[in-house]
């Protein structure tokens, strides 16, 4: 009946307020790019940490918060990406920059067979399955003698100093080699963080994002309207592996030393990541951002208190999960309704003719 109408709908996801916040975000990004020009080296160092954790947490949140895939094995991709990068630099003589790409692709490649296995498992089994896979990858790489086996290895001295662009940045900014390396790594981390957040945001606003939400809300109904839950989830899993692998490679370019225990550390690459997401608020893009900042502050305040630091972190995690399961951002939006990254499709406008139902 309504096909003869030429309707005047508009569909948007932005409100005036969120457009304003996009502007703020843009300014923040520009500031972040320029940061190495006016902040100290240690701040750049901290920002690098924040950016890399941001990518890891966004990826984990994408899996757990949007796709319901609670993985405790993301360290597999961090470590695999990092090892592939090391292989590229140490064994193939690649430039670290190119080797980072190799790391990402390697993680992506690893995710295909693991997906095949873990997607056979549900819920808690999935979680444990990812953990076991990560252990297997760790134990296997610990057998790779050319990269030091269980001992680990360091990047060839000078490799990061000769990395693409280091000399240029060193001359441009008048800084020493290692500092220039730090700055480049930081820019890469920033780029990765912005691209990751941007892509996740784009994904959520895309058809695939809708599909994810539908599967999360009601799997059966989603299947009945043509959404393939397995396809949607696999896609997310692969994308998260890619970004996680790139981050792992980047982190280890900066650390310049790798060993299986470090590269596949459950606390560093999964546990903290989970805490951050929970503290910030799972299932939102904003949550991990808040979480990383809070985590960073806690770490700076408490890190010199040894075991107390971890003890307090553990307690905070438990308390938030029990009493504010949607995290700090959840508390905030509950009170304000404000969203930095809105994904709702808002339908506006009026039908051109009067209500069709009334005419009959």
């Amino acid at each position: 009946m309504s096909d003869h109408l030429s309707p005047s709908w508009t569909i948007s996801t932005r409100t005036g307020r969120s457009s304003a916040s996009m502007l703020v975000i843009l300014i923040l990004v520009v500031l972040a790019i320029a940061a190495p020009l006016f902040v100290s080296r240690s701040v750049v160092q901290d920002l690098f940490f924040i950016m890399t954790m941001l990518v890891l947490t966004q990826c984990w949140n994408l899996l757990a918060g949007y796709a319901g895939l609670v993985s405790v094995g993301q360290q597999a991709f961090v470590g695999f990406g990092a090892y592939a990068m090391f292989a590229g630099v140490s064994l193939l003589g690649m430039d670290p920059m190119a080797a980072i790409m190799l790391g990402g692709l390697a993680a992506l490649a690893l995710s295909v067979p693991t997906a095949f296995f873990v997607f056979r498992l549900q819920g808690a089994y999935f979680a444990i399955g990812t953990w076991v896979i990560a252990e297997i990858v760790r134990l296997s790489l610990a057998q790779w003698k050319a990269l030091g086996g269980g001992t680990g290895t360091s990047l060839p001295s000078g490799a990061t100093r000769d990395m693409l662009g280091v000399r240029f940045v060193a001359d441009l900014l008048g800084v020493r080699g290692p500092q220039a390396t730090d700055i480049i790594c930081y820019w890469l981390a920033l780029l990765l963080a912005v691209v990751t957040i941007g892509s996740i945001y784009k994904l959520l606003r895309s058809k695939q994002g809708l599909g994810l939400a539908a599967v999360r809300d009601n799997r059966e109904a989603a299947r009945s309207v043509g959404v393939d839950p397995l396809l949607t989830k696999s896609f997310v899993y692969l994308v998260a592996a890619l970004a996680t692998g790139l981050t792992g490679a980047l982190i280890y370019v900066q650390k310049a030393r790798i060993s299986p225990d470090a590269a596949f550390s459950v606390p560093d690459w999964t546990a903290y990541v989970i805490f951050i997401v929970v503290i910030g608020g799972i299932g939102t893009i904003e949550g991990p951002i808040i979480g990383v900042i809070v985590f960073y502050i806690l770490r700076s305040l408490l890190a010199d208190y040894g075991s107390w630091y971890l003890l307090i972190l553990g307690l905070i995690g438990i308390l938030i999960m029990l009493f504010a399961p949607r995290g700090l951002w959840g508390l905030f939006t509950d009170h304000t309704g404000f969203q930095l990254f809105p994904v709702r499709r808002i339908l506006a406008g009026q039908p051109k003719t009067k209500d069709i139902r009334g005419s009959d």
Binding site: S40, S42, A262
Partner: protein
């Protein structure tokens, strides 16, 4: 321009595993650093020590090293205890071109472990900023074989080398035990690298049994050695000698074996009876050990001497450097020649292969056995000093059982 003249303190960064599984290595840190600060003050020196905890985590070790360099802007980084701690820190310092002195890890896992391709000696390169003092595998091999030489055995050795920094170095076909043992007429049965925290050693025990090994050696973490040793007894595998690195370093670990720790042997890097004294406080080894026991109520352990020596070397270096910039400090380290509580420390290339000559200074090593005391508890008795005759022995090597 000399920092001392300016009145600004000299900043030392110190990293060790104060929490986590490796924490036993760092249990004397506070005692040593307090002693160091007091001695420095008495000598009119102005030092500040920024202490960081690696949490026994290599990732964390690298991170705090970077923090020390970047935020605290220390003049010299000191690091101690196990390759898991020293290597990430030394690598970071090397990349940052900041001087670093490291100790308490055999030099091969430290030096080779930081090479990009550990498997290819041709590619190994010396470091510019990172220096290390300790003994090496050749020393522990000499000490062990000297001890074994004191006894009548069939010269068949069973090796227990895990897949970690120490284990890979000890079992290495080029720099580790295998070539030397072969030269000395021992045959080594090495079933392969196991993972740490393994719950069953029956494969190794079977291999040693069928080989008829009289001697067991290896470098193990304490829980694994306990598992192995108990299982060996249960399987009635009773070697005459068991010389084990790392696992029986600490008295508590030996006591955990009950009566079965008697006559286990190990290398001794430092003891209360070492005939050295501190260049900083003038204390003898015995006095330092006693002081520690008095303050903490705990028995002395081997790392104490080395952590103390680390600070001795640091003060000596900074005094000679005259300035706090990296170049001067690195030059001063390279020129060190100092008598410390663990013996002489000098990066003069003595007894070190040419590729590592610039970065490694060796300290003496002897062999000891744990002996059950009458009232319970164990004593570490030095039973072999052929490698360092100036360190007195307290008895002769005895067979187990």
């Amino acid at each position: 321009m000399p920092a001392v003249a300016q009145g600004a303190p000299i900043k030392l960064g110190y990293i060790s595993p104060q929490t986590g599984p490796l924490a036993a290595f760092a249990e004397a840190d506070k005692f040593i650093i307090d002693g160091f600060m007091a001695a420095a003050k008495a000598a009119g020196l102005n030092y500040e020590v920024v202490v960081k905890d690696s949490q026994s985590n290599p990732n964390r070790a690298a991170e705090v090293a970077k923090e020390l360099i970047v935020s605290d802007e220390v003049n010299l980084v000191l690091v101690a205890s196990t390759p898991e701690t020293t290597n990430p820190v030394a690598t970071t310092c090397e990349a940052e071109e900041v001087p670093c002195i490291s100790t308490a890890a055999p030099w091969q896992p430290w030096f080779i472990g930081q090479q990009a391709n550990p498997g290819d000696p041709g590619s190994w390169k010396p470091f510019n900023s990172a220096f290390h003092f300790f003994w090496g595998l050749e020393d522990v091999i000499a000490v062990y074989t000297n001890m074994w030489g004191q006894l009548e055995t069939n010269k068949k050795v069973g090796g227990l080398f895990p897949n970690d920094g120490d284990g890979n170095a000890w079992g290495d076909k080029v720099v580790g035990f295998p070539p030397v043992l072969e030269k000395l007429g021992y045959t080594l049965k090495d079933p392969g690298r196991y993972q740490n925290l393994t719950d069953d050693f029956s494969a190794q025990i079977n291999a040693f049994k069928s080989d008829g090994s009289d001697i067991i050696t290896g470098v193990m973490i304490p829980p694994d050695f306990t598992t192995f040793w108990n299982q060996a007894q249960q399987q009635s595998f009773k070697p005459k000698v068991a010389s084990i690195g790392k696992a029986i370093l600490f008295p508590q670990a030996v006591e955990a074996l009950g009566k079965n720790g008697h006559n286990l042997s190990c290398e001794v890097w430092w003891s209360a009876s070492h005939p050295f004294k501190s260049s900083l406080t003038g204390q003898s080894a015995g006095e330092l050990a006693e002081g520690f026991t008095k303050v903490t109520g705990r028995p002395w352990t081997q790392p104490i001497g080395f952590v103390h020596a680390l600070f001795e070397v640091a003060v000596d270096v900074m005094k000679r450097a005259g300035a706090t910039d990296s170049k001067a400090v690195i030059a001063a380290i390279a020129a060190s020649n100092i008598e410390t509580i663990v013996g002489k420390v000098a990066w003069d290339g003595a007894n070190v292969p040419p590729f590592a000559a610039r970065n490694i200074a060796k300290t003496p090593l002897v062999g000891g056995q744990w002996r059950l005391k009458d009232g319970g508890g164990y004593d570490l008795v030095i039973v072999d000093n052929q490698t360092a005759p100036n360190i007195p022995t307290g008895g002769k090597m005895e067979a187990i059982g």
